[in-house]
Every structure is written in structure tokens, then in C-alpha cells.
Assembly symmetry: C2
Amino acid sequence: MRVDHPELRDFASRCLTAVGVSDEDAATVVDVLVSADLRGVDSHGVARLRRYVDGVRAGTIDPRAAAVVMTETPATATLDAGNGLGQPASCAAVDLAMAKAAETGLGMVTVRRSNHFGIAGYYALRAARRGLFAIVGTNASPQVAPTYGARPMFGTNPLAVAFPTDAERPFVFDAATSIVPRGKLERLHRQGDDMAPGWAIDPNGESTTDLPSVVSGLKERTGYALLPLGGEGDSHGGHKGYGLATVVELLCGPLAGARWGRHVYGPEGAGLGHFFLCGQVAAVTTEEEFRAEANRMFDELRASPKARGRDRILIAGEREHEIEQERLATGIPLRPAVVADLARVGAECGVAPLTATTGVTRAGRDRNADTADGGRR
Amino acid sequence: MRVDHPELRDFASRCLTAVGVSDEDAATVVDVLVSADLRGVDSHGVARLRRYVDGVRAGTIDPRAAAVVMTETPATATLDAGNGLGQPASCAAVDLAMAKAAETGLGMVTVRRSNHFGIAGYYALRAARRGLFAIVGTNASPQVAPTYGARPMFGTNPLAVAFPTDAERPFVFDAATSIVPRGKLERLHRQGDDMAPGWAIDPNGESTTDLPSVVSGLKERTGYALLPLGGEGDSHGGHKGYGLATVVELLCGPLAGARWGRHVYGPEGAGLGHFFLCGQVAAVTTEEEFRAEANRMFDELRASPKARGRDRILIAGEREHEIEQERLATGIPLRPAVVADLARVGAECGVAPLTATTGVTRAGRDRNADTADGGRR
């Protein structure tokens, strides 16, 4: 089923406000989730709504928490999210980092006692669209083994970096520090596809392609683990991926004063930590010059010779932007299992289920009309 | 041949001052080079002296250049290194970033018109030893292909991140964003060893294990290229390594106002850019708490189950620290080809060649004596 994004926003907001989230916070959470759906990161979209609603009901997420500034210097701050939803605290954090960068050139805000914040790239893009570059990270539930290890000790610890290279379509790198995220394995498993060797290890620390065991082992924490970027051992740089995951964990755990490693997602809540750093491009060069040079660089990359069988070299964030353009026009595809789960969440919250709406909402109609006009002109 | 580090410092300093470098700058350059030799990063040690001396003689490196501050905000600055040696400009930059962090909590300094700065980890460690965390990057001569590409478009673009987790032995991640550096391929070639598949590509963009062709092709720029961390294509995250290399290039090229991509190392000099970011741990948490939590995390990693056949999980920087302890005691091993090349550099500069000095210098004697005493007590 395909749903236009305004309908998806409306549905998800109603579910969140039904469990006690304020209208404003619900709109923030939904904007982050739907942004993931629009950009093709379906694992971090409204499919997550169930966990948020359940977390609030179980008391591990406080729907009315407001992030509080704990410590502050001219360029830095620490926030305590009070076990609230990750998105409102993270928007407050990146906005504060931007405000500090406007004053001093740079701003860094860490967040503790938080929950899942969605896609890291959302916050980096938020800054890049205002002319700043940004580095964003979060820790996460343990799934990734250290090099030479045999147990999940770190989350997929994503790192996002964005630059204001283009007003519409800024450069945005947003990647787990593992080779693949768990969501990708779950998708392949659902589709009946195979997994590649070198993505995950069994409880002996050896590479495995037994997809059903990996998927259930990661979920039930029976010792299966994802491998860090660079893979098994150190022959192809696995120690570098492990090192990057450690850097993100140090920034978001010990530095932010949050939980870390295997202690994330304990019985009293996630206790996640996040990290947001923003910098003014105009502090060190002019925005125009930066943009011109960066785009010249991207053009040289695009025009450079391709590997045999390839016809395009991509810039980070480009593919996601294209998916977003397409989904804004034609709606967000939702799998039947997600539609069914959302219907159950809706029923529990007293919200009517979604119906297919592609192209019938105002946004969809206007866009279709524009395209049609454009074709005639 | 093994040489104690004070002899190596003395020799290299004399060569640099002979071509017009000041005593102070020579000491800085040599400290960075010898630090690489001590930590086992031989490719970035005094073996590089030839290139520095030749660069000064060819006029592409200005031996008397002093870095100048171009723009400044409370937390940021841009330096112009004036085509001078990379190390004095980089030490000035990281020291300025630390001073800014002491005032505002954070400091970032970019450097343009610079040359090779040695190991990125040196500057990150310099900050971590003073209680700050640091992120350091540089661009470099083009050797790495973008994902789906078939030509070197970026340097190995190393990224170093250090945290003050321990006064003696801070956490330090220092890695090229390619799978392997060119130096590793050259070493394997010298030793008559093979290369692994998946490290480099031929001019068609296809993975190759033809080591002699890769080594000469990278040197002579005939289209061979190293692969980014994550490898060929995107099945194992090659697009993530490529994305990270792009992030480093954006920070050190367009943001720093330096050359980028294929334009680094032109006829008028390297035109390299560097990036230094420092943050006060004490601005967001207490140093004691940060150190305690980080070390608890490292202890959990070390104690976690090992992959079959492995008996140790390492923390970034640990192995290098151990090599440094060993080489401080027993001297720095230099290959015959490096010894011969250094002798030629020395002869050109009027400096007597190195002789093996292991354990005969005062530093070596004292350390040996300490160890012997310790054994008796």
C-alpha cells in the first residue's frame, strides 16, 4: 500500500498524542520518522511507531519529559532528556548547537537519558539546510562485535555528517559503523533472499551466512553479532570499523554521561546518548566559495571514469534525495505487515487505520498537476 | 640496524637545519617523524626525510614559512601555512584549537597551503595528553577510487580521534579511510609477499591482486587505485568508506580553502589542507567520571568472549603504545634501504651517517638500568 506523507503524519501524530505526547513533540517525532520513510530508510520510519507507543505504555519512555540543560559553556552543552522521546530532545540539542555555532563558530551538545532518535542524518541535514556543517552520532542496542571478539558489545552506532553544499540537496553521509544494519538482514530474511558472507558472526566469532539464525540470534541476544565496517579480523580494515564504533560510543556514552555498550536498553529504559556538533562554514571560509569548490569536486567525481559495468558515481545523500522526490510525488510504500501492525497500534490508540491515498491528497494532487503542466508547456 | 631515538632525532634535525629549517621547526618535524617510527608506523617516520629535504631544495616547501592566522572566531580559526612544512603549521593549529577549547569548550582550526604533516594521531594525542578530545584529518595525494569509480580521486585521507582516557596511554584511533595504505603494499612487494583480493583495483575498476602493477601504477598514476574502507562496490560498505573519505576531503579541501582531490600535489607544491578539532571533556562531564567510564568500557571489551583462535581484544592505540615502549628501550629498527637513503640525504646535507646505537645512549642505558634494578627489587 502507498500512503501520501500528510496522511502518514496525521495517523502517527494521533497515535502519539493518544498516549500522552504533546502535539508539538508528536509533530517532531513524526517529522523524523516520515523523513526516514521518504528517504527510503524504511527500517527507521513509522514502522517504529509500535516501539514508541509500547515504550510509553510500559513506562520506559516518559511522553511528557522535556530536555533540561545540565552544563553549558559558550560552545558546548549537555542535555538530560529525562527518558523522554529521542526526537524532541535531539531537535532541541541540534538547535542549541546551531545557536552556539552562530555565536562562537562552533557548537557541541551531548544528550543523556534519551531514547531512539530516528535517523542521524535528519539532524545533520537540519543544520546543513541552515548553512552549517554537522556531525551527529548515537549509541544503540548492542549488536556489533569488536575485532577478534565473539559477542555484540556496541550498537550499530551510526555517524552522520552533512555540509551545506546545496540548499535543496546538501551532502549528507549517514551510515551505521557496522557493514549492514540488522534491518537489512531482517528484510532479506522476509524476502527469502540470502545474506553475503562477511556480514555477521556466530557465537564462536566465525563468519556465518545462516540468515535465520543470525536474525533470531540478534533479536534474542544469543551471541550472534554484526561485524564492524571492514569485516572480520583486520585484513580488510575491520579494526577501523571497530575503532569508529568505539569513537561513537565514547562520544555518546562516557562523554555524554549516558549508558554505553551492553548497558544500553536496560530494564529502566534505553539510557541512550547522542552527540551533535555544528560549525559555521562562514567562520572559516565564505559560504559561496565553499559551495562552489564542493560542487566542483562532486562534478569531478561524477565525471571520472566508471568501473566496468557501472554508469554512475554517487555523492552521499544523492540517492536518498531522489527517493524522497519520488515518494513525495507518489506516496510512501508500506509493507502489508507494517500496515497491519500500524492498524493494531491505531486500534489501541483509538485512531482509524490508514488507507491508500497516493496522489489523492492536496500535496499529491498539486505535484501531479505541476508535472502535467510542465509536460505541456 | 637499530638506532636509539635521540640519535635519530639528532641526525634528522641536522639534515633539516642544513637546508634552512629553523632549529625549533626542525625539532617539531623530527618529533612527529620519530613518534611515527616509535609507534611502528614506519612509512611515516624518518624514511620520509628524503621527500622533505628534496621538497625544500626544489622550492615546493618553504623552510622558513610561518603559519599565519587568516580568519578567527572565538572557537575557530583558519591558518595559511605558506607552503611550509606541515608539522610546525599543524602543531600551531592544534595548539590554537586547544587554546580556543580552553576558552569556549571547543576549538576548530583548519590549515591551507600546507605539506605532509606526518601521522594524524600525533596531533590528536597531543590534545588528549592535555585532557582534551580531538578529531584530526588531512587530505593527501590521490590514490583512492570512489565507489563504482575506476580512478584515484581522493587521498587515503586519514582520520584520527583521541580521548584523554589515560594519561600515559590515551585512546587514539588513527586510520586511513582506505582499506590499506600504499605503504603496506610497498612493504609486501619488497618482502615478496602477496596482496589480498579486495584492496585495490585496476584501471577498469576491477579488483586485482597483481601487486607489482598496483605498486607501480599507484606511483606512476596509471589508473590503479586503492579501494575505500568497505571495499569494492557497496555489498560490504565500500560506499561508507568512500563517504568518510569525502567527509575528510570536504573538511580539509573546500572548508579549509585548500586544494582537493586530484589537485593536491600540483607543480607549485602540495597545497594540502588539514583539520583539527579539540573539545574540553570537562565542559560536558568531569574528567574523572569520563576516564572511569571509558576504562570500564575498555575492560568489558577486553574481558568479552574472543573469536575462535584469538586471545585478545585490543583498544585503538594500544598496540602502538606497546611498540613505542619496546622501541624506546631497544631502539628503532631501520631497513637497510632506509639506512642507505638516509646516509645519502646526510651526505648531501653534510651530516655524518647514522650508526647502530641500541642501548648505548644515555636514555637507553638508564632504561636498561631501571629494568635491571626493578628485576632485583
